[in-house]
């Protein structure tokens, strides 16, 4: 194949180009020609196609995501907002924290271990790119039915991949989710969150400024990994164009990434870079066009200087390669020698591949010949934007109008059976089989992790400042009502922070949906975004970034709408945090919040194959009063323990509490069936010394939150009215599910 240069493109305007195979629509192709005033070269076509893919351009979601900016609440904490690699918030004492969730769903189905591993690798580089030291990861996961044969391939592989990569990087895993539903059978969800910390002055941005400054590529060599992987998600498969076979999956090298992290942090510490970008989806196409358009626009790159793992790669393929563990930096020539020294110390390969120019074109050459000459903004930021058709799907009215048809408990025997069944349900069962494969101790700053309500890490050893993070999604509710579902997930994540005594501060999200070309899915998505934007405004929490993952479906079956919401909070002194459970007898147990008959979308309904009825309506003003109550109670040292109620309601909440430190409880309540099974939002169980009950009542009155004593702690059983469940029996039910399913 001969080289398709800019000159060739000019002289052969009618050459047929495979734009459709690359996922571009004919009007998109026409627009590229209009921008360039000629046909694109094949390298330009590669760049545009990958950067204009759904994954990189957000072309279907952009019109909706604007609400996050339009409805953004005032926030003094927000230092860097949506648009950069990750948002940054001020957490006080000069510290800034950056955090973000990303998806790596499709690759994790094809090759679970590597797909999940490279998912962790990618999000960690995003955080590093902001100038931060990554300090923890989390992994919200979704799988097909727990007992499905393929889940036994997918789940252990994904868990091993997340552990294999994250553990090797020395990042504690402080939380996540494991949820099963048949809609994820051919399309598991691997979402990965990373959080990093830095000083305000250390924030780095993706921009190329200063004529004559060098464009420097460092890290792993470039191979044929994931070529077309990004755009293929949105289209047919990319025809094999190269001479040798191209790998169908990306393989991660966590060792190289660990070295890259330490090397980069040392480079940052000496202030040797002006701008930096990691190479993730769309590889060099993305890094060069985003760096250039983040600056004044001019950049020259000699693509033949890129160090290759596979020498047969064509320039088009090099531009699209998604080889892992690479970074691109803008460096002043005077500082480059020192940059090289640090790379040498860490044995990281580094090459200057170009420089910043004073024009506003991104020019890429191959052995001296010009193969790309484009305005970089048109590649990176001015891709197509669609207002895709949307329509409320028929199922909504249908399921909303149906009653939830499930047995409600009455007798002690029924209560016991239900509590044990919920304790053992795969969605609620003990996840140690998963979490024990993750290092939670490394770095020595983990204050809490699984199975607590949120993960918490200390960020300053002398002042004890810390941050807490929780990720939550309730796809059952989102299915019944995506608008409410998003708000409810947001509220749950915020509540999970507040139970520990941390104040919610900022939000990230990963929106996992089916095909945007399906008007019903598009409606679910739009409603979700509207709900999340409204919710964040009502709660005064800025969204700092996130990720959209479309095309999560198996054949015509879309996954449940799954917006995973991550909330980050701050706690001034981690030593004061409230734990999720009690370790002594004789404490009072109070239920905070109102319990209604919210069985629609509940785990109990799920266990009975019912996904009908109406999701609860989120009352975020009340959620905020509850959060204030929790924080005030924490400040007043009122609580011995506090635990959020969510999936599985009070039944699951009590199970988790009594098993945590093997101290039982005696519960006495009315209307036991609904009280145990309902998943009414905005509820927390707190344990406190009886002498403090009065103070709690006062706080509850002040914040207009219902507070009701439901029992006391102690003993070797969970006793609910006349039903007695031995803790050993309960523990056995709770802990045997995963080992039984996964070995």
């Amino acid at each position: 194949m001969s080289l398709d240069t800019v000159a060739t493109a000019q002289s052969s305007p009618n050459t047929k180009q495979p734009f459709a195979e690359l996922g571009l629509k004919s009007d998109e192709y026409a627009r590229i020609k209009e921008i360039l005033g000629r046909r694109p070269t094949s390298s330009e076509l590669a760049m545009y196609s990958v950067m204009w893919s759904e994954h990189c351009s957000y072309k279907s979601s952009k019109v909706h995501l604007r609400q996050f900016a339009d409805k953004a609440p005032e926030s003094a904490a927000l230092l860097v907002g949506i648009g950069e690699n990750a948002g940054v918030v001020d957490v006080g004492q000069g510290y800034a924290v950056t955090f973000k969730i990303e998806s790596h769903n499709h690759p994790s189905f094809v090759e679970p271990y590597q797909g999940a591993a490279t998912g962790i690798g990618g999000i960690v580089r995003d955080i590093l790119t902001m100038g931060a030291r990554p300090i923890a990861v989390m992994d919200p996961l979704r799988f097909g039915p727990a007992d499905a044969v393929d889940t036994r391939r997918v789940l252990p592989g994904i868990v091993a991949g997340i552990g294999g990569y994250g553990n090797s990087l020395g990042l504690p895993n402080i939380g996540g989710e494991v949820v099963f539903d048949r809609t994820y059978a051919g399309n598991p969800l691997v979402n990965a969150l990373c959080v990093g910390v830095m000083k305000h002055s250390d924030i780095k941005l993706a921009k190329a400024a200063g004529v004559g400054n060098l464009v420097v590529l460092f890290g792993a060599k470039t191979g044929g990994d994931g070529i077309g992987g990004v755009s293929v998600l949105a289209s047919e498969t990319f025809g094999a164009s190269g001479a040798t076979k191209r790998p169908s999956v990306q393989v991660g090298d966590p060792f190289v990434e660990k070295i890259l992290i330490e090397c980069s942090l040392e480079i940052f510490a000496e202030d040797l870079v002006l701008g930096i970008q990691d190479l993730g989806g769309a590889g060099l196409s993305c890094a060069t066009s985003e760096l250039a358009s983040g600056g004044s626009g001019g950049m020259k790159v000699a693509l033949d200087r890129v160090p290759l793992r596979d020498p047969s790669l064509s320039p088009e393929e090099i531009l699209m390669s998604e080889s892992q563990e690479r970074m691109c930096a803008i460096v002043e020539p005077g500082k480059f020698p020192r940059f090289l020294q640090i790379c040498k110390k860490w044995d990281v390969s580094v090459t200057a591949i170009g420089e910043v120019t004073d024009g506003n074109r991104l020019e890429i050459t191959w052995n001296g010949q010009l193969i790309v000459d484009v305005p970089p903004r048109t590649v990176a930021h001015e891709g197509p934007v669609y207002s895709r058709p949307m329509a409320q799907p028929d199922y909504i009215d249908q399921v909303n109008s149906q009653k939830v048809n499930i047995p409600i408990l009455q007798t002690a025997i029924e209560v016991k059976a239900a509590v044990l069944k919920l304790a053992a349900a795969p969605n609620l069962a003990d996840k140690s089989w998963v979490t024990s494969q993750y290092d939670k101790y490394v770095q020595g700053n983990t204050i809490q992790s699984h199975p607590e309500d949120s993960g918490m890490v200390r960020i300053d050893e002398s002042t004890h400042l810390g941050v807490a993070i929780s990720t939550d999604a309730n796809a059952n509710w989102s299915y019944l009502n995506p608008y409410q579902g998003a708000k409810l997930a947001l509220a749950e994540a915020a509540r999970n922070i507040a139970t520990a005594g941390a104040r919610p501060l900022a939000v990230t999200n990963c929106l996992n949906f089916g095909s945007p070309e399906d008007p019903g899915v598009m409606w679910q998505f739009a409603e979700t975004v509207r709900g999340l934007a409204d919710g964040c405004l009502e709660m005064g929490l800025p969204i700092t970034g996130g990720n959209v993952s479309f095309y999560n479906q198996t054949g015509a079956v879309a996954i449940l709408p799954t917006p995973v919401i991550g909330v980050l909070g701050v706690i001034a002194d981690v030593r004061t945090r409230t734990l999720m459970s009690f370790d002594t007898a004789g404490l009072d147990l109070f239920l905070l919040g109102q319990t209604d008959e919210d069985l629609a979308g509940s785990e109990w309904a799920f266990l009975h194959g019912e996904r009908t009825g109406q999701a609860p309506a989120a009352d975020l003003a009340r959620e905020m009063r509850l959060i204030e109550l929790l924080l005030a109670g924490h400040a007043a040292k009122l609580f011995h323990a506090a635990h959020d109620l969510s999936q599985g309601g009070l039944s699951a909440g009590l199970t988790e509490m009594v098993l945590r430190h093997s101290v039982g409880a005696i519960i006495s309540v009315e209307n036991v069936g609904v009280l145990l099974l309902s998943e009414s939002p905005g509820r927390v169980v707190v344990a406190l010394d009886p002498s403090k009950a009065i103070d709690l009542q006062e706080l509850a009155t002040h914040y207009s939150i219902k507070a009701e004593k439901i029992g006391v702690t102690g003993g070797n059983s969970l006793i609910i009215n006349d039903c007695i469940i031995d803790l050993d029996e309960l523990r056995h039910a709770h802990t045997s599910t995963f080992p039984r399913l996964f070995g």
Binding site: S168, I259, E461
Partner: protein, 222 residues
């Protein structure tokens, strides 16, 4: 007292080890794998992590680092050396300790709070413990199963060189529940669990791991 902490490429728990040394009252000194200079330290810790990605065999590549030549020499002259987890693996690969650490019997990486029993307080690293004292500290590894031939095992047992054992079910398939061993002189110790992650109940399951670090301080400061 100066205690060195070696950083290999891929080492993860070096800062934790340094923190523990500082907490015990000694001075932590960073040592770089590529530098043979031990910087006048009086004891050395090889911390946990995945040096060289644990590729080939855990510890197999690090063993050849320039700093290891100096460590081997110093160990021969009696300097106290502690290898934790990956450090233990490096010590075995370097033949400073017998045996090898192989894949966990259930093939999974395992991170959990583990009860261990200190079975020798004759080494400079375990001096402050009472014999048969039980402590809970984290274990976290994928290749922590201690294996050796029968003769070596008998020797380790007869000479009282098993310094710590797992209590309860065997977490990884180690022979005789071995969690840690020493060399014949007792100055070189390898330990699979992580005492540096148990120096404060705020961030670990207990504070009992600090004993390893105060031991070394007590052994040196007469």
């Amino acid at each position: 007292m100066r205690v060195g902490v070696i950083t290999f490429p891929g080492t993860l728990d070096d800062k934790d080890a340094a923190r523990a040394i500082t907490r015990s009252g000694a001075q932590a000194v960073s040592l770089w794998h590529g530098d043979a200079d031990l910087k006048r330290v009086e004891a050395v810790i090889l911390p946990g992590g995945f040096s060289y990605g644990d590729y080939l065999r855990a510890g197999a590549i690090s063993r050849f680092a320039p700093v290891m030549k100096s460590v081997i020499e110093a160990a021969g002259e009696g300097m106290p050396v502690l290898g934790i987890c990956n450090g233990f693996q490096v010590l075995c690969e370097s033949h400073l300790l017998p045996g090898a650490l192989t894949r966990n019997s259930d093939l999974h990486f395992l991170c959990r709070d583990q009860e261990i029993e200190i079975t020798s307080n004759k080494t400079p690293w375990t001096r402050t413990f009472s014999i048969n004292e039980k402590i809970v500290i984290p274990i976290k590894n994928g290749e922590g199963s201690f294996q050796c031939d029968d003769k070596t095992l008998a020797q380790l047992e007869d000479q009282g060189r098993v310094i710590a054992r797992y209590v309860g079910d065997n977490p990884n398939g180690s022979r005789n529940l071995i969690a840690g061993i020493s060399n014949e002189q007792g100055n070189v110790v390898g330990l699979m669990p992580h005492p540096e992650h148990a120096i404060d109940p705020l961030t670990g399951p207990s504070g009992a791991g600090l004993g390893f670090f105060t031991s070394i301080l007590n052994s040196m400061v007469k």
